[in-house]
Amino acid sequence: MSAPTPVDALREAAADGVDFDGLRATRDGDDFRLAVPDASYAGLSPAEFADAVREHRAYAENWLFWHGHAPQADDAWAFLRWVERAADLSVPERYERLGDGGMTREWGQVAVTARLTDDGRRRYDLRHADEADADPDDLSTYADPHETRRLRKFDDNGDYRPLSTAPTLRHGWALADLDPGAAVRAVEGFYPATIANWHREREGTLDVTHWHETVSRQTGIYGVVQTWDRGEGHEHVNWVAEACCDDSQCCKRREWEYDDETPLDIPGGDGVFPCREPCSLVVATARTWTRIEAEQSHTYSFDLTPSEKAQIETIINAVADGRVDEIRDGDTSDGANRFRARFLRAKLFDDDGNLCGVPTEGEST
């Protein structure tokens, strides 16, 4: 059985009334009515109704797509509507853009393009946002949307990405010509659960679990993280958020705070989709901090030249900003240059690796 035409489908649906994206159609016996924003028709026979629908074909095709072809799950539906800015643009405006190169929006680092094919179907293309204009021949094209679960695993250097939403999505791939359901699956493969939580947020039902509640729930080897909250403020969680949840480290927008009465002092970021609770990486990392932050501070004396102090700060910044691989061997003006670091070590470390020969408190010398 072939798929119903927009005319047939709309004639069928008119009996219950249609009111969608500016298209209205009703039927009372053999008396059809049709209206779009700039035209309305009443007293139409079935044949006249068919002619009127063909006259405003984009509206009818648009209605049929969203009710017959698009995934009907609320979150997937809302996501695909967002891709083509259905809330902001009229059907003719969208159809013009969808038919002329398509409409693209960025979801994290993934560019999702919706477009109309010659036979009036919507199809979706996914690429890395940096490669929206790349020659398709330069990209590896994947047909199976589930393959994105594997594409997300490694960055451009082949390093494992335990955090799917780290802004290190690899380049060089494309998914082309996906049907709407496959497009949603592919996006979910790159960024799991982001569509569901984004949709909940838009509906006002996102269930945010804040830091304190999250760590209080932990057991086993992570149970210790509970002890880091000592009722002495939330500065330690500010540091966690600044370290882990900054836009430079994660594409999600942090919505969780210390608890529901205590916001953190760090911005949540500008990501399109929300982060509704501290993730497993944050909890695992917090376990390390819980241990080392339990230590007492000691006063150490080091003799450093101003340049040496500045160099240590430069090295910490270079590691924290992921800049180490970019520093050229010949660029000795950069304090985090390998030769500069080796010189500092040669000069300032003793045979046991102690800075300026000062033993670390609590370690055997």
């Binding site: 995934p71 799950a73 997937a76 589930h146 679960r149 594997r150 695993k153 490694f154 494992y160 335990p162 955090l163 799917s164 939403t165 979910e188 799991p192 659960a193 569901a196 939580n197 909940r200 679990t209 729930r217 057991t219 086993g220 509704r276 609770e277 993730c279 497993s280 990486l281 695992a284």
Partner: protein
């Protein structure tokens, strides 16, 4: 009523191979069309267990833990993170007999059928035998050969060893292998002395682990003394025996059928011709 399968696994922040079995088996089951929807969720990867149920569209969900034994994860972590009102006693298990319970989660409005882990399902015994066949390349392997089922073993969870012993006993009762032993990394009898436990020339060693990682690729080969050049040869000659080391059983394709068996036991409406999705499954 549409049905979804949700495979839940540990995952890792360090080892990219940790999630490979869950992904591969999910693909096998999806391709076979055995469920309307097939999803995965992880403790350490994404989607997290906390966010998993909301990624499911279907009307009800069969949750199958891709874990080798009952214990901390199946009894505490997974139900807690999925927001199921569950107590380990609900399974009424002797340590290897958990089948399923049905619960309404706090997270989404649909029934969740929470199944016991794949590792303790009877069908896992078939996977072990299959693994022995594939690693030796001998579909009739058994006569003249010994089989070592290897578990992590931990004093914190007696069920860890029970699952290993359970399958070793089941393989032994079939009379196919001359000798069958349950051996462990962290408790006696230990895998270190593997050749002490066998008289057979050929010893097939099958670790009851889900994913290949540090334990299966480095620890156990090193403990046995077959590690060489960052890997191990199959077979490796050791103390007058040939050691056929199989790597993690969780990567065996036939495991997809155990996942389906778990869901079917819990009432999943899987078409009879789809319950065996792996070619050659017996």
């Amino acid at each position: 009523m549409s049905e979804a399968l949700l495979i839940v696994a540990h995952g890792s922040h360090l080892n990219p191979r940790s999630s490979a079995p869950a992904q591969d088996h999910a693909d096998t089951i999806r391709t076979a069309g055995a469920f309307d929807e097939v999803r995965e969720a992880y403790w350490k990867e994404e989607p997290s267990l906390r966010n998993a149920l909301r990624t499911v569209t279907a009307d009800e969900v069969y949750v199958v833990p891709l874990f080798v034994s009952e214990g901390y994860f199946t009894e505490e972590v997974i139900p807690r993170e999925l927001r199921l009102d569950f107590d380990a006693a609900d399974w009424d298990s002797d340590g290897t007999s958990a089948d399923f319970v049905t619960r309404a989660p706090a997270d989404v409005d649909k029934p969740v059928h929470y199944c016991g882990p794949v590792g303790t399902h009877d069908a896992m015994t078939d996977v072990m035998v299959r693994r022995a066949e594939t690693v030796t390349g001998d579909p009739d392997v058994g006569a003249g050969a010994g089989l070592a089922v290897v578990g992590h073993g931990t004093k914190r969870n007696e069920n860890s060893a029970k699952a290993v012993q359970y399958h070793a006993d089941r393989v032994r009762s079939r009379g196919r292998f001359d000798e069958v032993r349950a051996l462990f990394m962290d408790e006696a009898p230990e895998i270190d002395d593997v050749t002490d436990h066998f008289e057979s020339d050929d010893i097939v060693v099958v670790p009851l682990f889900i994913a290949d990682g540090y334990h299966t690729q480095e620890d156990i080969p090193a403990d046995m003394g077959i590690a060489a050049d960052g890997g191990y040869a199959v077979p490796t000659r050791l103390d007058g025996h040939d050691i056929w080391y199989a790597g993690a059983i969780g990567t065996e394709a036939l495991l997809a059928d155990v996942i389906l068996e778990r869901a079917a036991d819990a009432g999943a409406d899987i078409a009879p011709d789809r319950t065996r999705v792996v070619a050659g499954g017996d």
